[in-house]
C-alpha cells in the first residue's frame, strides 16, 4: 500500500492543467473514492474525458481502467467526446416540458442539423439536454454558454444558435 502511494504517475502531457487534477487527487490521498471528483476535475479543465486521461486517472488512483470507464459512462454529466466552442443546454424537466421545452429542442435540432447530445461538424455548437435545472420559475429555460435564459421561444433559441454558427463561419 505504502509503496503504491509513493509512486505518482506522470500526467499524459506537459499541459499545466494537469496540475489541477493532481491537486484534486492529492487532496484525497490518491484514494479510489476520489474517482468522481477527479473526473469532474479533468472535465472542467479539458472539456471532456479522453482515453489518455482515463488511463492516467486509473493508474494514479490504482483502479482498473474498466471501472474508471464504467463510472465515466454511467454518469450523464461526463462526456468522452470533445464539446463544441459553444454549448446550448435545453432543460426538459417537467415544468419546461409542459411549457414547450420539446418545441425548443426541435427548433434547435433543425437550426443546427444535429440531434441532442451531438456537436456540429465544425465543432462550434454542442446541443445538450438537461433533466431539470431547478429553475422551474423560468420555464422553459435554456442555458446558452453558461447563461441561464428563461421563457425562451423556439424561434428565439434557433436565432441565437444560428448567430454562433454564422459568426464562426
Amino acid at each position: 500500500m505504502q509503496a503504491a502511494m509513493s509512486v505518482v504517475t506522470a500526467p499524459p502531457s506537459e499541459d499545466k492543467r494537469w496540475r489541477i487534477i493532481q491537486t484534486t487527487m492529492r487532496r484525497q490521498g490518491y484514494s479510489p473514492h476520489a474517482l468522481i471528483e477527479t473526473l469532474h476535475s479533468v472535465q472542467a479543465a479539458f472539456g471532456y474525458l479522453d482515453e489518455a486521461s482515463l488511463h492516467y486517472v486509473a493508474q494514479s488512483l490504482h483502479i482498473p481502467l474498466s471501472r474508471v470507464y464504467g463510472v465515466a459512462t454511467f454518469y450523464n454529466l461526463f462526456t468522452l467526446k470533445p464539446q463544441g466552442a459553444h454549448s446550448c443546454v435545453v432543460c426538459l424537466g417537467t415544468a419546461c416540458y409542459i411549457k414547450g421545452g420539446q418545441q425548443i429542442l426541435a427548433a434547435l435540432e433543425q437550426a443546427t442539423g444535429i440531434h441532442r447530445g451531438e456537436t456540429t461538424p465544425d465543432k462550434q455548437v454542442s446541443l445538450v439536454v438537461a433533466r431539470c435545472l431547478g429553475t422551474c420559475g423560468l420555464a422553459p429555460a435554456v442555458i446558452f454558454d453558461e447563461e441561464i435564459t428563461g421563457q425562451v421561444l423556439p424561434d428565439e433559441a434557433a436565432r441565437r444558435v444560428k448567430e454562433w454558427l454564422a459568426y464562426e463561419s
Binding site: 484514494s31 469532474h40 463510472v71 454529466l77 415544468a95 409542459i98 429553475t135 420559475g137
Partner: protein
C-alpha cells in the same frame, strides 16, 4: 468557539447593521440571478456612491422570497417593501424613494395570499440573510442552538426531542426522523457517518436547491446537531452537480464554519468532532436512492443494493450511516430551539410541521412556498398559486416527480399529508408540484415520466431496466395512435410487475405516473386507442394506422 464568542460575533454584526438606516436586499438565487440580479446590485452600489448614501444604506445579496416567476425580487428594509421584476435601471428610483413613498409600479403586495397563507419554518429568514456571510446568520441567532445543544444536552435527549416533534423525512417517504436517528445511535462502532442528501433529481423540484443556496449555514447547523445526537464524526453533503451555485455556497459556508471553529475537532471544548465535506453527483437520478448515493460517494457507479442491511447498520464503507434530506436537516434547528411541542402543533395528526413545495407549470405564481401540512391542494393551487393563467381549465397536479402521480380536480380538497396523497395514488415526494391545464395530454405526460425512468434506470435489476423500456414503448405506440386495447392490458400488467419486483425505489415507483393517469384519465388513453385522437391536441397520431 464558545457561547460568549458566538454572542460577541452576533452583537458586533448587529451593531454594524444598525449603523445603516436602510438595507436593500437583492435576491441572488438561481432564478433571480438569471434575471440580472447581480447587475442590479452593481447598479445600486454605483448609485449609492453617487448619491453619497454609502453610510446610510447597505446593499446586500439575499436569498429567495419565493415568487421566482416575478424576479428579480428586491426588498427594502426596515419597511419590508418588496419589489418585483426589478431592472438594473430601477436602482435609481428605488434609492430616490428611500424615506419617501415606495415605487408603486414595482411594488409586490406582501399581504397577498401568496405570502399571507404561507407558514415559514424552514424558510423562516425569508431570504433576508446574505448566503455568503456567516456573521449574518450568527447575528440572526444562528449556531446558538447547536452550541446550546452541544453543551447542555445529552445526545439521547436530542434524539428524543426530534422523535417527539414528529418530524418525518422530507425526502419523500416521511419515515420518523427521530427513530432513524435512534437506530444509527444504537448501532455498534466508534466511527459513524452522516450524509445530507442534496441530490434533488426530481424534475420540477427545486426546494433543496433553494435551501442550500440561501441557508447553507442552517443546513450545516442541522447536520452538526444530528451528528452530535447519533455520534457521527464524519459527513458529506452530496449535491447534484447541476446546482453550481449551491455547491459554491456550501463550500464557502464550510470553510467559514471551520474558520470559526464550528466544524473540526473538539468543538466548543467538548470531545465532539465533525469533519464535513461536499461531494458532487454527476447527473444520475438514481443517486437520490440512499444506497446508490453511498456508492457514488465511494467513487463507484451509482447502483443501489438490496436492503437490509440498512445504512443505519452498514452504510458508507460499511460503517453505520445516517442519511437525511436537506429539508429534514433544515427543520432540526427550529425544533431544538422552539421545542418538540411547538413543532408538533403545526400540521396534522399524522404529518407534523410544514412542507416546502416548488410550484410550477401552468400556474400564475410559480415559485417556492412553505405551507403547514394539512392545507388542501386547492388552497395551494388556487389561493397561494393564483390559479391557472390565461383562463384555461385545471386538469391535474403532479406531485412527487417521476415516482409520483397526477391528481385530478375531484381530489383537490384532500389535505396535503403523506397518507392522503398516497391514498389518491400519488406521493408527497420531495415537494415538486407541477400544475397542468387542458393543454396537457395525460398520456404524453405518462410517456414523459416513463422515458425519464427508462433513461435513468441504472440497469442493475431486470424488472426496472427492461420493464420501463417495455412500458415506454407501449406508451409511445399509444401516443402515435397505433395502440390497441390489448396493449393497455399489457401496460397495466407491466405496472404491477415492475412495481413489485424492482430492486429500489426508482423501479418500484416508476409505474406511478402511468397508474395514476390510467386511474383518473382512462378516457384519454381510450381516445388515443379507439378514436385515434388526442383530446389535448398534443400527440400526432397516425389515423390511418390499423386499429384494434
Amino acid at each position: 468557539m464558545n457561547p460568549e464568542e458566538l454572542h460577541d460575533i452576533a452583537v458586533k454584526r448587529r451593531e454594524q447593521q444598525a449603523q445603516f438606516e436602510n438595507r436593500i436586499v437583492v435576491c441572488t438565487g438561481t432564478a433571480c440571478h438569471a434575471s440580472q440580479s447581480e447587475q442590479i446590485i452593481d447598479r445600486l452600489n454605483t448609485e449609492i456612491k453617487g448619491r453619497g448614501l454609502t453610510k446610510r444604506c447597505a446593499i446586500s445579496a439575499g436569498g429567495c422570497r419565493g415568487l421566482c416567476a416575478a424576479g428579480p425580487m428586491v426588498t427594502v428594509e426596515p419597511e419590508h417593501i418588496l419589489y418585483q421584476g426589478v431592472k438594473p435601471d430601477d436602482a435609481e428610483p428605488i434609492l430616490a424613494s428611500l424615506n419617501e413613498a415606495p415605487v408603486e409600479r414595482l411594488r409586490c403586495d406582501t399581504d397577498a395570499p401568496f405570502f399571507a397563507r404561507q407558514k415559514r419554518v424552514v424558510l423562516e429568514y425569508n431570504g433576508m440573510l446574505d448566503p455568503e456571510e456567516i456573521e449574518d446568520y450568527i447575528a440572526a441567532g444562528g449556531f446558538a442552538t447547536f452550541i446550546n445543544t452541544l453543551t447542555q444536552m445529552q445526545p439521547s435527549n436530542v434524539i428524543e426531542v426530534v422523535r417527539r416533534s414528529g418530524l418525518g423525512g422530507r425526502g419523500g417517504a416521511g419515515y420518523s426522523t427521530g427513530l432513524k436517528w435512534a437506530t444509527v445511535a444504537k448501532a455498534a462502532g466508534r466511527h459513524k457517518f452522516i450524509i445530507c442528501n442534496g441530490d434533488e433529481g426530481d424534475p420540477g423540484a427545486f426546494m433543496d436547491r433553494s435551501v442550500m443556496e440561501d441557508y447553507p449555514y442552517r443546513v450545516i447547523e442541522g447536520i452538526l446537531i444530528a451528528a452530535y445526537g447519533i455520534g457521527a464524526d464524519e459527513g458529506f453533503i452530496y449535491v447534484r452537480a447541476e446546482y453550481p451555485l449551491a455547491v459554491k455556497r456550501l463550500r464557502h459556508a464550510l470553510r467559514q464554519a471551520e474558520k470559526y471553529g464550528l466544524l473540526g475537532n473538539d468543538l466548543c471544548g467538548t470531545n465532539f468532532s465533525l469533519k464535513l465535506d461536499v461531494r458532487l453527483g454527476a447527473g444520475a437520478f438514481v443517486c437520490g436512492e440512499e444506497t446508490a448515493l453511498m456508492a457514488s460517494i465511494e467513487g463507484k457507479r451509482g447502483t443501489p443494493r438490496p436492503r437490509p442491511p440498512y445504512p443505519a447498520e452498514s452504510g458508507l464503507w460499511g460503517f453505520p450511516t445516517l442519511i437525511n434530506n436537506v429539508e429534514t436537516f433544515a427543520n432540526v434547528v427550529p425544533i431544538l430551539r422552539e421545542g418538540s411541542e411547538w413543532f408538533a402543533s403545526i400540521g396534522t395528526e399524522r404529518s407534523k410541521g410544514t412542507k416546502v413545495f416548488a410550484l410550477s407549470g401552468q400556474i400564475k405564481h410559480t415559485g417556492l412556498i412553505e405551507v403547514p401540512m394539512g392545507i388542501t391542494l386547492r388552497e395551494i393551487i388556487f389561493e397561494i398559486g393564483g390559479g391557472i393563467p390565461g383562463g384555461k381549465r385545471f386538469k391535474a397536479v403532479q406531485t412527487g416527480g417521476p415516482s409520483g402521480g397526477c391528481i385530478p380536480e375531484q381530489h383537490l380538497d384532500i389535505p396535503v399529508d403523506y397518507a392522503s396523497l398516497a391514498q389518491v395514488g400519488s406521493i408527497m415526494g420531495s415537494g415538486g408540484m407541477i400544475v397542468m391545464d387542458e393543454t396537457s395530454c395525460m398520456v404524453d405526460v405518462a410517456k414523459y415520466f416513463m422515458e425519464f425512468c427508462m433513461t435513468e434506470s441504472c440497469g442493475k435489476c431486470i424488472p426496472c431496466r427492461v420493464g420501463t423500456a417495455q412500458m415506454y414503448r407501449l406508451l409511445d405506440k399509444i401516443t402515435r395512435g397505433e395502440g390497441t386495447l390489448d396493449d393497455l392490458t399489457l401496460l397495466e400488467d407491466l405496472c404491477d410487475m415492475v412495481q413489485h419486483t424492482s430492486l429500489c425505489g426508482l423501479g418500484q415507483a416508476a409505474p406511478n405516473p402511468v397508474k395514476s393517469t390510467l386511474r383518473y384519465f382512462r378516457d384519454e388513453y381510450l381516445a388515443h386507442i379507439v378514436d385515434k385522437t388526442c383530446p389535448a391536441g398534443v400527440c400526432t397520431l397516425h389515423r390511418e394506422a390499423v386499429s384494434l
